[in-house]
Amino acid sequence: MFEGASNFAKGVDSVFLFIFAVSFFFLIGISAIMVWFVIRYNRKKHPKAVQMKDNMKLEITWTVIPFILVMLMFYYGYVAFEPMRNAPKDAIEVKVTGQMWSWSFEYDNGKISNELVLPAKKAVKLNLYSPDVIHGLYIPAFRIKQDVVPGKNNFMWFIPNYNGTYEILCSAYCGLRHSFMEAKIRVVSDEEYQKWLAEKSPEMLENAGLAVMQNNACTGCHSLDGSPLVGPSFKGLFGSKRIVIENGEEKTVVADSTYIKTSIMEPDKQVVKGFKPGMMRAYSTVIKDDDIKSIILYFEKQSKQPK
């Protein structure tokens, strides 16, 4: 198991240790007795069974002792869990959006990122939001997990102990690319965090459209490198000829700004041949007009770059 990467890790691990120790004791003990009986009272050696009377004292003993032990387990489990539900007031708040099939993180100052960058030794509260189905935000190294439920304001909080990079996984089954819904947490020093928070990454600034797409999980289904995922790849999109199915008829269209806008607003109107309709929701109320413009701008710029 890991070292204590978060403030909860140590407490959780000690509950594990306690329950495992008791469990191993009983498992090994009872199994050994069982095997011993089976060998000792094998019919070859012990052809005649001895009938025993019920023994009330024995039965009470083996009811009371497990009862006490499980009550202890319940108690320790609760004590280590309880602080997970009480986030400090001064915690850094980050809005986490989990949607099919990527994560994005929005900070107080409006900065949106696909990587969760945090300062070490500071309390962080993650407010969990899902626009589609249930996801699960799971950070194995931190021993915490919380479902991201649409229509519910779930949260989790923790203090990362050490600088380093940790995995974020999706724990609640959410469909096709559930197992690819990952992100990273990068825990850094406070200065580095402040610096990172203040700067807009040059790449993002230049490619605002790309940032919009990443934050809306577009790239969870449409790759940038040409590989087909759930939807067609974005590589070389602008100005290319597309064979699409519209009202059941096949036709060829050019991927211009109108086409891109329609595909975002009404994805099922023209579906690229070879892909299934109904896989993508309409983003007409989700992505603002300005953002769609910057997406189109991004694709246009990509097409002009020398190959």
Binding site: G11, V15, R43, Y173, S179
Partner: protein, 535 residues
């Protein structure tokens, strides 16, 4: 092998009954023994299909990355594996097969209380199973997992409605069987068989039947609500229609947690028959075993929330459900202690049924003890929705209920089919099944503790060694299962004739011929002694 097979003695329930011959004679028979065997045949076929799907998944997971299929196929596959194994194999499992065959005989009755309703239940089971199979054809098979969680299941474009309808119909089969068994136990016991002279397998079926009757309607209604929401867009569970996804989880687990006890209680009951017989000893703590069965059935209703510790329900509910979950651990522990105590100073015959029984106890303990970390709040948060849960669940349902089924089929085989299976082959198959099982599921505990989430088509490279070992285990297990089934199928056709009481058992089924005659007893039964009096 000398291919000379002696015919079964005349007068058994295998002889023609009613006006139809052959297969039609079976399909129209209301004899509880024939219905039990028809369930056995169906469940065997479904089990092998489920095993095959599981095997294909393990083949895919042998190495990281896509090997033989895409993610959609994999997601469909674990869904249908779950639907088949849960609704068509383990929930009917012991109670439909051995309950039907042995409940009336063990309480000295000629049949169940409502024989025609019993046959109707089997037809419902067949209908539900057929609908489940149909959900795989025409469009895409469902991809929601067997839990059909909202809002994913509300909006999935796959054949979710068909699969949900199948589970709904299968539920009715379960309710009617439960009802039948409750009335049978109340009204049909032989003269002199007081409640506390009833053998423990019927007791466990009785406790189970109450769960079937009281809990199954809830999932029935819930599944109808899913269909209504999908087709009529009534907002029960999908927040975009104004529903609440957590409500779905509550309603689903109010049934589906007790369903685990529907599976495991008859398994415990069967094991409680096998141990006294193979130890030739009076069962230790008869009353404690009865009361623990009833306690499990009762408290088992109130623990469903432990499936939802990360869902965002109130902190108080989490605490209350954690507390109740620990309470339900006690009666299970009591049963284990009673089983071991029954072996003390017994005269133990080590044959295939007993080997499956002791491996059942071992695996059930692992399943139960790992359940403690899932009941404790702090630890559950870490391992919830990971392979740890998958391992725990398979240790209980397969290592527990599955192995008890294997023990029971070997134990009662001579009585049901009137022939003996090959003991040596049976032992070899057990050894392979047991090793394969351990190799397949134990590494999953480690994977889960290290953070491997469940229902993943692909995984990070650090989890690959665990998956590799687990997949090897799956192939070993499948070889063992094939050998076991081969042994039993061969024995049913050509095995040596079995005596009426091959294991020297005391309960009533060993006092009639093997296989039993049509109405079980040729005279009215009167019971005077306790079912496990060996002296």
């Amino acid at each position: 092998m000398t291919s000379k097979t002696t015919a079964l003695p005349p007068g058994s329930f295998f002889d023609q009954q009613g006006k139809y011959k052959g297969i039609l004679g079976w399909l129209t028979s209301t004899d509880h023994k024939r219905i039990g065997i028809m369930y056995l045949m169906c469940i065997l076929v479904f089990f092998l299909v489920g095993v095959t799907l599981g095997g294909i998944m393990k083949l895919e997971l042998l190495r990281p990355g896509a090997q033989y299929m895409d993610a959609q196929t994999y997601n469909g596959m674990f869904t249908v594996h779950g639907i088949i194994m849960i609704f068509m194999v383990v929930i009917p499992g012991l109670s439909a097969v051995f309950g039907n065959f042995f409940l009336p005989i063990m309480i000295g009755a000629k049949d169940v209380a409502f024989p025609r309703l019993n046959l109707f239940s089997w037809y419902l089971f067949l209908l539900g199973s057929t609908i489940a199979v149909l959900s795989q054809f025409g469009g895409n098979g469902p991809d929601t997992g067997w839990t059909f969680y909202a809002p994913y299941a509300i909006n999935s474009k796959t054949n979710v409605s068909t699969a949900v309808l199948a589970a709904f119909v299968l539920g009715f089969s379960s309710i009617l069987t439960g009802l039948n068994f409750i009335v049978t136990v109340h009204r049909m016991r032989a003269k002199g068989m007081t409640w506390f002279k009833m053998p423990l397998f019927p007791w466990s079926l009785y406790a189970t039947a109450w769960i079937q009757v009281l809990a199954t309607p809830i999932v029935g209604i819930t599944l109808l609500m899913v269909i209504a929401e999908r087709t009529l867009r009534i907002g029960f569970f999908d927040p975009s229609l104004g529903g609440d996804p957590i409500l779905y989880q509550h309603l689903f687990w109010i049934y589906s947690h007790p369903a685990v006890y529907i599976m495991i209680l008859p398994a415990m009951g069967a094991v409680t028959e096998i141990i006294p017989t193979f130890c030739q000893r009076k069962v230790f703590g008869y009353q404690a075993i009865v009361l623990s069965s009833l306690a499990i059935a009762g408290v088992g209703y109130l623990v469903w929330g432990h499936h939802m510790f990360t869902s965002g329900m109130s902190d108080f509910s989490r605490m209350a459900f954690s507390f109740l979950t620990f309470i339900v651990a006690i009666p299970s522990a009591i049963k284990v202690f009673n089983w071991i105590a029954t072996m003390y100073k017994g005269s133990i015959l080590i044959k295939t049924p007993f080997l499956y029984t002791i491996s059942f106890i071992f695996q059930f303990m692992i399943g139960g003890l790992t359940g403690l970390t899932l009941g404790a709040l702090a630890t559950d948060i870490h391992v919830h929705d990971t392979y740890y849960v998958v391992a725990h669940f398979h240790y209980i349902v397969f290592g527990g209920m599955g192995f008890a089924f294997f023990a029971a089929i070997h134990y009662w085989f001579p009585k049901m089919f009137g022939r003996m299976y090959d003991e040596k082959l049976g032992t070899v198959a057990w050894a392979i099944v047991f090793s394969g099982f351990t190799l397949l599921y134990f590494p999953m505990f480690i994977l889960g503790l290290r953070g491997m989430p469940r229902r993943y088509f692909d995984y990070l490279p650090e989890y690959s060694s665990g998956h590799f070992i687990s997949s090897i285990g799956a192939f070993v297990l499948i070889i063992g299962i094939i050998l076991m089934v081969y042994n039993l199928v061969k024995a049913a056709r050509t095995g040596e004739l079995a005596p009426a009481n091959p294991w020297n058992g005391r309960t009533l089924e060993w006092k009639v011929a093997s296989p039993p005659p049509l109405e079980n007893f040729d005279h009215d039964v009167e019971v005077t002694e306790h079912p496990y009096d060996y002296e």
